[in-house]
Amino acid sequence: MSDTKDATLTPEVRQLHKGLDEVWGNPKGLRALTVVNHTTIGLRFMVTGAIFFLIGGLLAMLIRTQLAFPDNDFMSPEIYNQVFTMHGTVMMFLFAIPILEGLAIYMIPKMIGARDLVCPRLTAFGYFCYLFGGIILASSMILEIAPASGWFMYTPLSSGEYSPGPGSDFWLLGITFVEISALSAGVELVVSILRTRTQGMALHKMPLFAWYILAMALMIVVGFPPLILGSILLELERAAGMPFFEVAGGGDPVLWAHLFWLFGHPEVYIIFLPGAGIVSTLIPVFAGRPIVGYGWVVAAIIIMGFVSFGLWVHHMFTLGIPQLALAFFSAASMLVAIPTAIQIFVWLSTLWLGRPRMSLPMLWIIGFLVIFVLGGLTGVMLALVPFNWQVHDTHFVVAHMHYVLVGGMLFPLMAGLYYWLPQVSGRMPSERLGKWSFWLIFLGFNVTFLVMHWTGLLGMRRRVFTYDTAMGWDIYNLISSVGGFMMSAGVALLILDIALHFRFGRKAPQNPWGADTLEWAMPKPPTAYNFVSLPKVETRHPLWEQPELSRTIYEGRHGLNTIHHGRRETWGSDALTGKLRETIHLPTNSWWPLFASLALAVVCISLLVRVYWLAAVVALVAVVLLLRWSWENGVHPNVDPEASREPSDPPLHYHTMNGPGVWCMSVSHLANGSLYLSLLFGWFYLWTVAPQWQMPETSPLSMPLLVGAGAALTLGTLLLRKLVNGLRRGEGAGLGLSMYGAGGLGTLQTLLIIAVMWLAELSPTENAHDATLFVALCYVLILSSLGAVLCILQGLRVGYGYVSVELPMEPVVVVRLWYYNLVVYWSLFVAIWVMPTLLGGGA
């Protein structure tokens, strides 16, 4: 906001600005590591992602140098394998997902009129997990022990027998660590979008970008756990010898392919949806009119999100699956073209009916449309089973994948970068340098990958490190390599443009593109608290219909315009209507996220170097740190020095029973449930498909002990339910005692599960049956111990006065965990004891 506007502010409003700066401001020096603000963390995500993009791009250039000429010995086959594996891994896991998450973390609160995300410390924790996981994974390249089995790590190639070095371990542990970050961002983005929109912003009035990110975040929450489970199982096989993927031990390598692609195919859409969100945001702005068919786009997003989970087998068409099953997945793969086409036609119609301005961001959007449509067309071709068989594992697939991912993600991302750059820096980028960069990347990309379709159709396999000149692939590979370097020159120019604009770019006006969304109503560069006051918004185009909003917000004429209490606050609104429900008190800067993620990094490294005792000890330290972090919550003096226990209107969220913590726990259970269902899938898959699977005649698990553990869990859940219902009625007698009681029952359940494991005398390293039972029992053991510990901590918190009838939210969060445990435990009992007992060992 300009100095002129500052001069017109009243002393009270100046005081408000100053107070907000003090409460929300980022510390400097070493304490910058404690920052939890979404603007800073979002930028950190994006900058780190951009660095990994450059690393991934460098690896791509090494690949193109090697393939430029036949019989080239620029790289040895071993190093080539590491380079192409790390190119895919870095681009997919360390660049694409994190940079888009970073954009969402940065942009969502600004677009929906909030001051921060709902769990700022979780945002910071996610960033550090990503950073440390990425560094661990990337360090394997420097040590020349990087993973070399392809970015999808197919077993048995990635198993101990064929990849004995630590490369696969780096991948499995590093990626799992990075995925903690994706999941944490996924959970809080879902809850933030649903529960922290500004007053009046009903679900059907929120910006389309928020719909796209909501779908992306939910897909991350549901889609990532299958890979996390797969990675845990494969690491257990490699490190401890549990034969989940070894045929001789009763496992099946195809199980890995299923678990990987259950994640891997939705991942493509997880990457595409935010890109499409950027396109749906920018096109109306540059066409100068609202998008045609907002509702159609919402329907298309939902359809795409769901159908993308039904396509995973189309990556496995050559694995020997029956034709009828292939036909199901082939048809489902074609179905997904419909929501994609809906969006393309919506974008074209909006441009057709508007008056498009061909500014720099629009150039990237046009590039996106051309490239993505081409990639989509080859996608439909690949959905056809006979064609897929012909080009499977050839450069045709590589070309298709790059058309979809670079077209569907990188081009929109660049459009978004140029569009929002003035919002971040307050300066405009150079049109001339930007256009040069666009054309170099656009032409370079097509020269590289259009030609690669031919190379693939001529039969070049995707992972060969060199080829004979007699194959006739020389000229196509040379052209692709030239195109690749052309693209690199474009990227270099783009970096130069962005770097120069911070110094030489002309100052951006308040709303340089004439946009309609709220992020353009705040000062540039943005303040840590986003908005001085939170406006009521009942339209999809707030800045088009109320252009004065940026001024009135700045003058503190809207909601939450007091700061004397010293709390970081944002609105909590109804998920559907956007009506105000509570004031959410957000936590402030903290060391806990850094310490907890550092501990997890040490666990990861200890597992890599196979010092298991250290891993166990530090894992315990990490748990203690996380629990200590959770202790500083609600009205804890470190969080709320004023101990706001008196009622207010709207109430502070911990005075309610439906605050954001309850929502976060519910959304986390989606992820947890996805992990559990993947485990059940693995159990039934191996049981029915694995050729050497051995089901014993009688279950090795003690039925009385299992039922006893279930009874303790059931009683504990009923006790907690009664307690929460009492709180709802305003009755809090015996609150602490009930919590300790539930904690005791949880402990009993834990001890009984340990007894079951002890008495079963399982041989998890000898057969997949026992290995799967072992993992399943460990899973319920972790859940039951968590349930018990949280209840005991709640009992303590009642004693300290942090939980009471007036502060009833936390027990509601805990009871949801117990409900989840109850469903998981009894369904697992049916799967691992009742069904095998009824069907017998012959089944």
């Binding site: 059907h204 919402v298 359809i303 029956p322 009828l324």
Partner: protein
Amino acid sequence: MRQLLRLTHPIHLVGGLTIWGVWFVAIYAGLSIACSIAPPDPESDMFTGINLGVGLATLVFTALLLWLAWASVKAARKAEVRRDCYFAFISAGVYLFSAGGTLFVGYPVVVLPPCL
């Protein structure tokens, strides 16, 4: 809870595709288990109990989804609040897509044997 059953509630935006997802998992898992436990005679071509079962499930689910699409349109027309009308119409579209998707994905049972 009763509120969730109303077709004007936004939960129905994902209702159709959830039903589609349940059907999809059921037919794929059912097919795999049936082929593993009791594979039919390859000579039977597509005239097998498995095809019949998958085909019937497809028709039942398609009918259910079509009915829900029709009911959503009716609910949208009756809705007094614009927001309710909006969600019911989009839900109707998604239910209709899901019905079409069920029929399209299930159609191969009439031309392909189940376990080859």
